[in-house]
Every structure is written in C-alpha cells, then in structure tokens.
C-alpha cells in the first residue's frame, strides 16, 4: 500500500525515482543534462553520411547553441582574458588561424601545431591533429589548460563564468536551471561547434546541379579524383585517418604526431588527414604550417616526400603531376570554399557582428 501510494504521489508531482539518489552529488552522470529550450535540427548537407556525434546525449537547442557561441567568443576561458577560442579559430579562416603557421598563446608563446579548422565536427570521431581527444565535448579542455595556449584551469573558468552575471539566464534557458558546471559549459560549447557545418561550396552546388565547373576546375576535379581521394575522399574530403605524408619532423618542434598518443612507433610522424573543404582560406598548411600555398603542398607530394618506415604506402612513388595539372587541381580546390559558411552571421561573435571574409565566389 505504502509503495503504491508513493508511486502515485511521485507521478502526480512529476518526481520519479529520487529514492536512490542519496549519493547523486558524487555520481558520474553520462547522459542526463536536462536540456530545455527550442529544439534545433542538425544540418546534414546533401550527400553527407550520418554524423557520428551522439546528439541524443546533448540535444541541440537554440539556447544551448547561443550559450556555446558566447563561450566560444569569451576571453574568460583564458588566463589573461586575451585568448578566447576564437583568437585561434577565426571564422573567416574557416575557424583556423588566418596567416599564422603557429598561433599565439598566453604570455607571448606559440602553439605547438598549426590550428586546425573547425567545421563538420559532428562527423569526426577524434580531435586534434594527433587524435588524442576522443569526444568533441572534452576537446576545449585541451587548449584551455595548455600552458602555451589559454593557460587556464577548468576550475577558474567555471569560477569566472559564475561571476559573470550575464551567464546565469543563458544557463537557465539552455538547461532548465542556473547551475553552472563544467559539464554544461562543455555540452553548450559542443552544441555550437557541431553546428558549424560547411557543405555549400561551389563544389556542392555543382553536385546539386545548381552550378557548373569551369573548364580548369573540371580538369582539376578529375585529376583530384585520380590522385587525391585515397586520403581525401568526397564528400568530407578526409578519410579521418592518420598518415605520414613524408614531411621531415621540424628539428625544433620534434613533433612525431600520433605516436605521442598511442606509444606505438608505427604511428611515428602520422597526423590526421585534414578536410580540404575551405582549404583556400586556411593557409598556412600542414601540421606545423610550413607551407603558405596550396601549390607548395601539391608539389611536396611530387618532389618533397621524405622516405621513412611509416611513410604512407600510397605516397611511396609520390604524386606525379605537371605544373599545369597542379594549377588545375588548385583551381578545383578553390571550389571547396564555402562563402555562406565563412560569412554566416550566426557563427560570428554576437557582440561584434562584422565578419571579415575574403570575397570568393
């Protein structure tokens, strides 16, 4: 009788299964973060596969996205306030760092690697050029705590966000109540970053029958399909694998890539294959930003491959293209620039609406 009454009362008052939550403050909670607000639908461009991100554990909402965007552009996430995520991830550079081989960090330091672009993250299983981060939700913790990047502690970030009274209503709107904790900060940030979708370049329009390639672009596309799609397959233009493309390690950086994560010498000098979408605006290139021009990258595959035990088998003979062909592949790669993404005001700093963006296509 007691149990029955208890159940009825629980249901009536909307509170179910509280009886075992004595220790809830110490429990690890995986999936439950009471999201509330206006549901958002993840954009999946035509021809894209299903995303790998588990949206059911972090349902997208307008309010979560707005909160995540504010955090992304907020200097409070860094030690001295000068290095928001957006300081190294600029929209007009497809969220890489425009014009910098290595990015600037706290106290006049440089980052260890070239900042990667941020878009189509919902399709990525692993993050960072060495794949060391296994879930986009915990990705921001790496730059936040890196001494040469944002140089902050997670505790202090949460403290500063709690101090800033403009945040409480945004947390309430996104998560039902004012609680501010690292889980909510990270889930909101993930809502913003997985929403950065780029799939509306000229290439996409051609695929949808809304545009057509110029002669050189078409020729470049055919060469690309012959020579480049082993590692950069359509439509993501990456196979998300880790490969050694024959770049000798920079003697000062001594960066051996994925080996640092796996402790496996077979992974020496391997880095994640980047997407080539928006490649024309994300110069400089390679994990250490050693090349300024797309043509230099393509020539590297012809003339510059350094042989080593872990060199990718696909590159043993290099990629033999003439200068004419390189120019055409270059023309094709420029059709992967997605201006509507680079200039989408929704992705911009809400407090500074101006977006500097190269005028392309």
């Amino acid at each position: 009788m007691t149990i029955k009454l208890f159940t009825i009362l629980s249901i009536l008052s909307g509170t179910v299964s509280v009886s075992n939550s004595v220790e809830s403050c110490r429990k690890g909670e995986t999936a439950k973060t009471n999201t509330t607000g206006t549901p958002l639908k993840q954009e999946i461009p035509a021809g894209f596969p299903e995303p790998v991100y588990k949206f059911q554990n972090n349902p997208l909402t307008e309010e979560g996205f707005v909160l995540g965007r504010k955090l992304f552009y907020d200097g409070k996430l860094s030690k001295d306030g000068n290095f928001p995520c957006a300081s190294c991830h600029q929209q007009y550079a497809a969220f890489a760092t425009f014009d910098h081989p290595l990015s600037h960090g706290f106290n006049n330091q440089f980052s260890f690697r070239n900042a990667p672009v941020i878009f189509n993250e919902a399709w990525q299983k692993e993050f960072n050029l060495d794949g060391g981060v296994n879930n986009i939700e915990v990705q921001p913790l790496a730059p936040i705590t890196a001494h040469n990047e944002m140089s902050e502690t997670i505790e202090n970030v949460i403290f500063k966000i709690k101090e800033d009274t403009s945040y409480a209503p945004l947390f309430k709107a996104a998560f039902n109540d004012n609680t501010i904790n690292s889980q909510r900060v990270l889930k909101a940030m993930a809502q913003f970053t997985v929403s950065l979708v780029s799939g509306n370049s000229k290439y996409d329009k051609v695929k949808r029958g809304e545009a057509s390639f110029l002669f050189y672009e078409q020729h470049g596309y055919e060469l690309f399909q012959t020579h480049c799609t082993t590692c950069h397959p359509e439509p993501m233009f990456t196979d998300f694998s880790y490969r050694n493309i024959g770049l000798a390690a920079d003697p000062s950086l001594k960066d051996y890539g994925r080996m640092k994560i796996t402790n496996d010498s077979n992974d020496s000098l391997k880095f994640k294959v980047p997407s080539l979408r928006n490649v024309a605006v994300s110069s400089p290139y390679m994990h250490d930003g050693r090349f300024w021009y797309i043509s230099q990258c393509i020539r590297h595959y012809r003339d510059g491959i350094q042989k080593s035990a872990t060199l990718d088998p696909a590159l043993i003979n290099g990629i033999q293209l003439t200068e004419r062909e390189i120019a055409d592949v270059n023309s094709f790669l420029r059709t992967l620039t997605d201006s509507s993404f680079l200039r989408n005001p929704r992705y911009a700093d809400p407090e500074h609406k101006t977006i500097l963006s190269p005028d392309v296509h």
């Binding site: 004595v22 972090n58 060391g132 915990v138």
Partner: protein, 244 residues
C-alpha cells in the same frame, strides 16, 4: 495548495523509503605499514627509500557485491567515487543495496573505458577534479604525489599519475576482496560497514619491483603505468566488517 500538500507527503514517504533501505558502507583507510597516510608523515618503502605523500586520490567505480558460491554478482548502478585522502568524507562510500547474502566486494580502481569516451561528465567524473587528461582524453586512475630523497627530480618530487584505458596500456584494475568471515547477510535495512585498508608501500613493490630511484615519476600511459597498476591492484585488503 494541493502541490505543497503533495510535496509534504512526498518528502515524508521519501524519507521513509530511505530509512528502509539496506546499506553497504565502505570505509577506506590509506596507510603505510599501518601508519595513516598524512602529508606530515614520512615513510620508508621496502627498498629503504624515504618518501612522503602530499596528495593521494583514486577512483573507486563499478562496485559489485559478490556471492562466489552461486557466482552471483550484483552491480551497484552509477557507482563512481573519487577517494581523496585529504577529504575524510570522500573516504566513506555509502550505497543503498539489495538484500542478499554476499561473501566479497569488488570494484574497479579507475574509470571504465565507456566513461572515458563519453564526453563531458559531472559529479565524481567532473574534469574539474583534476583527474582528467585533456591532451590524451582519459581519466587518471590514481594520483600519488610527494617527495623522496631517492628522487633525482627537481625538489625531490615523486609524481605518479596513472591512467590509460586502451589495449595494452589499460591500467584499470578490478579488485576483488573476500570477506574475512564467510557470508554476510545484507538485509533488514541494516548498514554493514566494510573497512578497506590500502597499504601504499605495496605500490612500489609487490608484483613488480619499482624503486623510486629508478622511477620517481610516471605520468603517461604505457608499460610502466601498467606495471604500477599491477602493483596497486594488490594494495587493498579488508580490515574488518561491522554492523552499524
């Protein structure tokens, strides 16, 4: 009016419900040769090396009650706890359990692989607790920090941050501890207290001999971390069991 009345009823029944639950309490005491671990004490390991322990934290997760005779294992859902030697409350784990007859407890020292790939989490698994690697995602299973004259590191530091949940680098250890007497009946809304002792000297020398002089620090996944994990799997024992 109706809502507040309901709330009063509800809290009454909730309280009743809580009181009526049988509980298992696990009390951890961290020692070196029966001397409690405290930042002000110093210890000597089996290699004759002096050391101190300034900070000691470890994850106790996936707790199970075991009946080895009928091979029944009862998993306690959502059991994730961070034991921090400096915080007395954290050394006591209290769990509502199902009535039954058990002769052992079992837990994971460290965090299971699923929770290492599940993104942002809260409570004991909040990355703010300082037991999370940001550059190579994963929870640290155990952190031991202190000093030793045997260490050649700056300030004679010793630092063991042991983690890794993949393949050969896996350091999560399932620890099974049999009750000293035979079966214990957990029933009638009673609380049984299991006193678990962790002897840190075994961390340096049990399955593997790992003197401080050779390895004053281990802070990344790999073979050495794995060896330490095989040692720390042996540090726990049950001191006694009491009815509360």
């Amino acid at each position: 009016m109706l809502t507040s009345l309901l709330a009063i009823f509800l809290s009454f029944f909730l309280q009743k419900n809580l009181q009526q639950q049988t509980h298992l309490e696990i009390r951890f005491s961290n020692v070196v040769d029966n001397k409690p671990v405290s930042p002000d004490s110093s210890y000597t390991n089996s290699f004759g090396e002096n050391y101190t322990i300034q900070r000691l934290k470890y994850y106790i997760t996936n707790i199970e009650l075991v009946n080895t005779k009928n091979h029944k294992r009862t998993t306690i859902a959502d059991s994730y706890f961070l034991v921090d030697n400096s915080n007395e409350d954290s050394r006591v784990i209290s769990l509502p359990v199902n009535d039954g007859s058990y002769d052992a407890i079992s837990f994971l020292l460290g965090v299971d692989s699923l929770h290492n790939v599940s993104g942002a989490q809260s409570g004991a698994l909040d990355p703010m607790n300082g037991m999370f690697w940001t550059w190579n995602t994963g929870y640290v299973s155990i952190k031991i920090e202190g000093r030793s004259t045997a260490s050649n590191l700056p300030q004679n530091l010793i630092e063991y941050h042991l983690g890794g949940f993949k393949g050969p680098d896996k350091v999560n250890q399932r620890i099974n501890l049999s009750f000293p007497r035979s079966n214990i009946e957990l029933s009638n809304n009673k609380t049984i207290v299991v006193y678990v002792k962790a002897d840190l000297n075994l961390f340096f020398n049990s399955v593997h001999s790992l003197p401080i002089k050779t390895n004053p620090a281990c802070t990344s996944p790999g073979r050495l971390a794995r060896q330490y994990s095989e040692n720390y799997a042996t540090i726990f024992s049950i001191d006694k069991i009491e009815n509360k």
